[in-house]
Amino acid sequence: MSILEVRDLVYGYDSPRGFVPIVDHVDLDLAAGESLGVIGESGSGKSSLLYAVMRILKRNTRIASGSVKFKGDDLSRISAERLGDIRWSGMSMVFQGAMNALNPIIRIGSILGEAYARHHPRASRAEIRDRVQEILDLVRVPSHVRTAFAHELSGGMRQRVVIALALICHPDVLLADEPTTALDVVLQDEIMARLEEIRAKLRFGMILVSHDLALIAETSNRVMVMYAGQIVETGAVRDVIDRPRHPYTIGLLQSYPSLQDMQRVPISIPGSPPTPETAFRGCRFAPRCPMAEPACLDWVSELSAVEETGAAHKVRCRRVDEVDACAASLYRNQRSDA
């Protein structure tokens, strides 16, 4: 059973020319304790998807249709109060860049304590103290950091605090938006290792958003590849990485420089991702796709199951059956562009 169930979610904003979808008809299921990765270039709508799931709506945006169910509750049909509760103790979020947005004038211990107290109004001071200490121990932040201010901490330490803040109410689901992107490889690895240990212990589900496929390969059971607000490929991590079926996924994989395979020369995907206001015609990836044909521009795109790998592996490409044969030569002889 899914703890989180998203159906046909459409999220966007109204412009003078009509409604502009940023997240376009997305389905998503997360089982309890499962780890799902969301990958795509900047601008593909990953952060927006998390905002829409949490119903943290920016002023100009709205959810146009679709549903988000958390433990069976439709989030659009519950009271604001109940939604507020779910937001920390049911589902919580590590925002992109949050380590640079910690309140600068409140001590770390108080930031954590206040977050806990808000959702546990009857908690005694001692209980709050214990809970803060417990969560800091979990993310391995030395206890003297409780009395420090955010600016006194290193980047790695601030990121741990941000993770502690998201976990202090023991959520069932953690939405982590690029939690290590600003950090160097050594720190990233330490923090991801820590997060995996905590997850094994507390058993919360996680949606990890990243533009780094290898990070997702190592952390997630399943992956969703997003492009221009749509899911273009989804499936078990190993299926998608070992037998990618969408030309975009193949591009992401081939652009990844590898230390293991030093002979392989990474490519770059030509062009850049579109903005939501682009007037799309047919397949949204067509302008950058090395396999595009005129018919792709008239294709009403849909996500369909890949036969060999099974129903869980889905792809949005009308030439899906030919992709395997072309994969090796795709993107070669391409000129790089911004």
Binding site: E41, S42, G43, R107, P142, H144, T147, A148, E152, S154, G155, L183, D184, V185, V186, L187, Q188, D189, M192, A193, H211, D212, L213, A214, L215, A217, E218, R238, I241, G251, L252, L253, S255, Y256, P257, S258, L259, Q260, M262, V265, P266, I267, S268, I269, S272, R335, S336, D337, A338
Partner: protein, 287 residues
Amino acid sequence: MTLAIEGIGLSKIYNSREKMPGISGLWRRKKIAAVADVTIRLEQGKTLAVVGESGSGKSTLGRLLAMMETPDSGSLRFEGRQASELSRAERLALRRRIQMIFQDPYESLDPRLSIRDSVEEPLLALRIDAKEREERVFAALADVELSPPERYLSLRPHQLSGGQRQRVAIARAIVLRPTILIADEPTSMLDVSLRIGILRLLERIRARTGIAILLITHDLALANYASDRVMVMYGGRVVEEGETRVLLKDPKHSYTKLLVASAPRLEPGRQRQRLTRPRPELIMDTT
């Protein structure tokens, strides 16, 4: 082998403060050897990568070579001449031949300036006429593959994608026809899918102009792809140095091994090695 620039025994010490554990509001002063006795040689037409985690001294080393900071000890030699012996005018001319690009192109580009003005600005200090300036701006934009240049001239930084902005920053650096380019984490703010494009661009510029490149990065896979030699820094010191392919295939120093072991992989089965870092000798004295 012609050396573009040589730094011998470079050290840079900063005064810094560190919070006392446990006691709020109490700080202790300490001196940090951000760079400690580093000797570095940049060859013309080659790329040297400097790798290491945050705080290992890479950016400080880059600034020392770019003469944006003065070393506390050690010396710079440029085309066989000691930098300290140069006249003011010579130093100024020299500094123009060493250009730097940074992680965040937003910071190096003035948001109010159009792309044309941004790229032209460094030329204004030189005695060249408007016509030649224009030609050089066009050539630089074409070099960074923002083509046709006309399409970009009147745009402002916020109208460009991250990758395009970094290309403008590179155009601004090469418009002065430098002989040395110091690229400090030029791709770490960009999507993985765009990084190779930027590195390949630097590669082409290097092949055509014979410029020497210092590539600062914490990503070993990128260093592997884009450099001839690599220097591994930790705690302000060079812990290992050598030909890139050889060194990364068979790292000798435990810190280099840690760096290699920390990078996530697409292939399954990486063991997170519980390697511990060697203790850096960062702190010189405490008062």
